[in-house]
């Protein structure tokens, strides 16, 4: 619970702001937590808007980012993606899928002491380039790979 509160303080830009809003009854703790969630980036319909909303309008291709993913995903509903950054001072890792209805899939903050490597599973609507964006020492780096999808994972 304490940990969650700490996130809230960070997200709210300071304890005083949070206290003010809480007193005003404007925010439930859950709503305050969600402020941490970059709505503009997550709702961006295309890759460029998502990059822009993440502040990564300018970024450099890097071979210091390794992506582990299948060449062909038979089932777009479950596509395993691993991302490893070899870049010193990695602060965050994001996964973006160019042709999904919303491009940004996930963004991970990497605190000091945690290895800049994450694995998860994503949904892909169709064959698409998948991008891994890394923020390291305040700068953005990216690598990409095309993953072919046989059956899409977003329709119904």
């Amino acid at each position: 619970m304490d940990q969650t509160r700490r996130n809230v303080f960070k997200a709210g830009g300071g304890a005083s702001l949070y206290a003010l809003l809480a007193v005003a009854g404007m925010l439930r703790p859950d709503a305050a937590l969600a402020a941490d969630w970059n709505q503009k980036a997550f709702e961006a319909k295309n890759l460029k808007d998502a990059f822009d909303a993440l502040g990564a309008g300018s970024r450099t291709d890097s071979i210091g980012i390794l992506m582990t993913a299948p060449e062909i995903a038979e089932n777009g509903a479950v596509v395993p993606i691993g991302a490893v950054s070899k870049l010193p001072g990695t602060e965050s890792i994001a996964i973006l899928i160019a042709k999904n209805p919303t491009a940004l899939a996930a963004s991970f903050d990497i605190p000091l002491g945690t290895e800049p490597a994450v694995s998860t599973r994503v949904k892909m609507a169709e064959t698409s380039e998948v991008h891994v964006l890394v923020k390291a020492q305040g700068k953005f780096y990216v690598t990409k790979k095309e993953i072919k999808v046989t059956i899409g994972g977003c329709g119904g």
């Binding site: 619970m1 304490d2 940990q3 969650t4 700490r6 996130n7 439930r28 859950d30 709503a31 937590l33 969600a34 941490d36 969630w37 970059n38 997550f42 509903a77 479950v78 596509v79 395993p80 691993g82 899928i97 999904n100 209805p101 919303t102 940004l104 899939a105 996930a106 963004s107 991970f108 903050d109 990497i110 605190p111 002491g113 945690t114 290895e115 490597a117 994450v118 694995s119 998860t120 599973r121 994503v122 949904k123 892909m124 994972g153 977003c154 329709g155 119904g156």
Partner: protein
């Protein structure tokens, strides 16, 4: 209340490998039900993991994370017998915290 997470934390080489499976629909909001009505989005937005009161991973997710999400990461430090806590919060304000012992 959602079902518990399955968390496996294993100490090796001075670090801890953490694997988490969460039970969640991760509904995208893109699908329609049998009557043609859109099914509202329902997905985990935030996941955080802590060890000894220190945050070891914080993640924000969109709708593209697969149903019953899987997450794996490694952090330095951490001994057998110590505990880690993992918390997720979804877009409807539902949340769940589970604890696991490092072994």
């Amino acid at each position: 209340m959602a079902d518990p997470m399955r968390i496996r934390a294993v100490a090796k080489d001075g670090g801890v490998n953490v694997k988490i499976l969460m039970a969640h629909e991760m509904e995208t909001g893109q699908r329609k039900d049998g009557a043609g009505k859109p099914i509202p989005a329902h997905f985990i937005q935030h996941v955080s993991a802590s060890w000894q009161g220190k945050m070891v991973l914080s993640a924000n997710w969109g709708t593209a994370i697969a149903k019953n999400p899987f997450l794996e990461f490694n952090f330095k430090g951490g001994q057998k017998g110590e505990k880690i806590q993992v918390t997720w919060t979804d877009n409807k304000g539902d949340k769940r915290t589970d604890e696991a012992t490092i072994n």
